[in-house]
Amino acid sequence: MAKADRRKERLDRGIKVRSDGIYALLSWRELAYLVLPRLVLIVGLLVLPLVMPSLYWQRVISNVCLYALLALSFDFLAHYVGLVSLGGALFIGVGAYIAALLNKYLGFSIILTIPIASIAGAAICTLLLLPCLPLRGVYFAIVSLMYPLAAMRIIEALNIFGGTDGIMGIDSFPSSWAEQYFVIVMVLLFLFGLRRLVNLDIGLVFRGVKDNDQAVRASGMSITYYKSVAVFIASIMGCLAGACLTHIYMFSGISLFALDFSILPIAATVIGGGGTLAGPVIGCFILVPISELLREFGTLRIAFYAVILMAFIVFKSEGLMVYGQRKYHQFERWVKI
């Protein structure tokens, strides 16, 4: 029935087959094919603060990395475990408040607050999200959406944790270099760590939960348990980001539960390419600077991300990273039918 006389055909490049599945690396060229993109990413990130020393850009770089942590956690949960987290702000807020409280009222130094806030925060977030884990996916989305909104209102209404004013006077990082390199290293660690994790056996179980959770149950494993582990891992990243945030801005308030943190990671993931884990990071590199430029427009930013997000989803775009990977790994040609 086709009227065309030719069709497009996509084939893996020979070099990919040799270097990827079979690992028969025969030359430097093939080694470079594999290693080069990753090297560019690592070196690029590490060199960035040196290349852009102005204070403004330093802030931007830190912000990019913090959002990247959130975006990584969203991508991991959504595309490798099947849980759509609409409330990344929950992780940020919890991490930030714990770090702030530890620092201000207990006098813990930054070396202590960040790890403790990450882990304790992750435990708290996992507990909060626990009730919806045995249930169908839509419940997780709803509950995760609600928590940041509710938290904002509750803190404001009950006037706890500093109420609308927030907690101020928090220590900052020892130097701005420490600040930037810490978050950059964290992003790199988590990015490559997660990529490794999803191919480990336990990562396969997570992917199994996304694919077909009844089969996982039938294999004798509790899906609630594995989902909680996944949520814990994701929330460590989010709470870490929150803790760093509060030390960078020396302040912690209900604005840390803002929708910004919920929607930008999602937009970054969709634009950058969901499921690739590197895509969301790239997406952040694009969106965060734009968001800084749009700061004068106030919360219109959020509407802007939302519109972009909608456009991408509705037009079923695959995302930059996926597109890039496809171009890198495959070539296309027209074939006569």
Partner: protein, 257 residues
């Protein structure tokens, strides 16, 4: 081994299972047959904990497993396949097995043919696939599950159960969707499972093939147990003929059984 007592399940107003009781002994191959909608899959769901029964009790090796969560029941060794096949489509075939091999039970028992200790899951996965009939040296075990034909997928379902070194496998229509030759090659597999000491319950519509392997058969109709006995006894029973089909086709089946 398995003692089911007055299993009843109501979905709103519909009684899918109505006081079904039976016993399963070690080494049996029990066939469960019945027309569509007679509650066979619901029975499997109830036994394996995917659905909570309205009333009734289930005992496995003397222990009451009524109402236990599905993954705990699988952990005890009562495994099942799914009528609507659902492998992990995004993973290659052998990786499909790594997931069940990650379960606590597999860790304890080492999986099928594993002598009590679990080695590298990838290799154990490929071993199990080879036993099940995937040719080892070919690329078949490495193909994506989404690209495998039905016969292989049915074996994969069984392999997923075997990874847990099961005591019981409840097979929900493993023969359906297979060609005659594929079924012919499945039957020795089933017999091999039995020789390994695994007890099987098989829900089937393909009566001829079922009667070749089963040593006892139970018939369900509208959620109630109609008859239980050896294949010959069951086929001779007039109530079964009435429940299933008209009168003439029964003759044909009987001559081949």
């Amino acid at each position: 081994m398995l003692h089911v007592e007055e299993a009843t399940k109501a979905f709103g107003g519909i009684l899918a299972l109505n006081r079904v009781s039976f016993d399963l002994y070690q080494g049996d191959i029990l066939g469960i047959i019945g027309p569509n909608g007679s509650g066979k899959t619901t029975l499997v769901n109830c036994i394996t904990g995917f659905v909570t029964m309205t009333s009734g009790k289930i005992f496995f090796k003397g222990k009451d497993i009524t109402g236990k969560p599905a993954h705990k029941i699988a952990d005890l060794g009562v495994t099942r396949t799914f009528q609507i096949m659902r492998p992990y489509y995004s993973l290659p075939a052998y990786k499909n097995l790594v997931i069940p091999l990650f379960s606590p039970r597999a860790k304890r028992t080492g999986g099928w043919r594993g002598g009590g200790k679990l080695g590298d899951r990838n290799t154990v996965g490929i071993d199990i696939l080879e036993e099940i009939g995937f040719e080892r040296d070919s690329f078949v075990p490495y193909k994506m599950a989404s690209s495998l034909p039905t016969g292989y997928l049915k074996r994969l379902e069984l392999a997923r159960c075997l990874a847990l070194k099961p005591e019981i496998i409840l097979c929900d229509e493993v023969f359906s969707g297979l060609s005659m030759s594929e079924i012919a090659s499945m039957v020795p597999l089933i017999e091999r499972l039995q020789m390994d000491g695994i007890t099987l319950i098989m829900i089937e519509h393909r009566l001829r093939e079922l009667f070749r392997v089963a040593n006892r058969v139970m018939v369900l109709n509208f959620g109630e147990k109609l008859v239980e006995g050896t294949p010959e006894e069951v086929m001779a029973n007039p109530k079964v003929k009435e429940a299933y089909f008209g009168s003439e086709e029964v003759e044909e089946v009987m001559t081949y059984a």
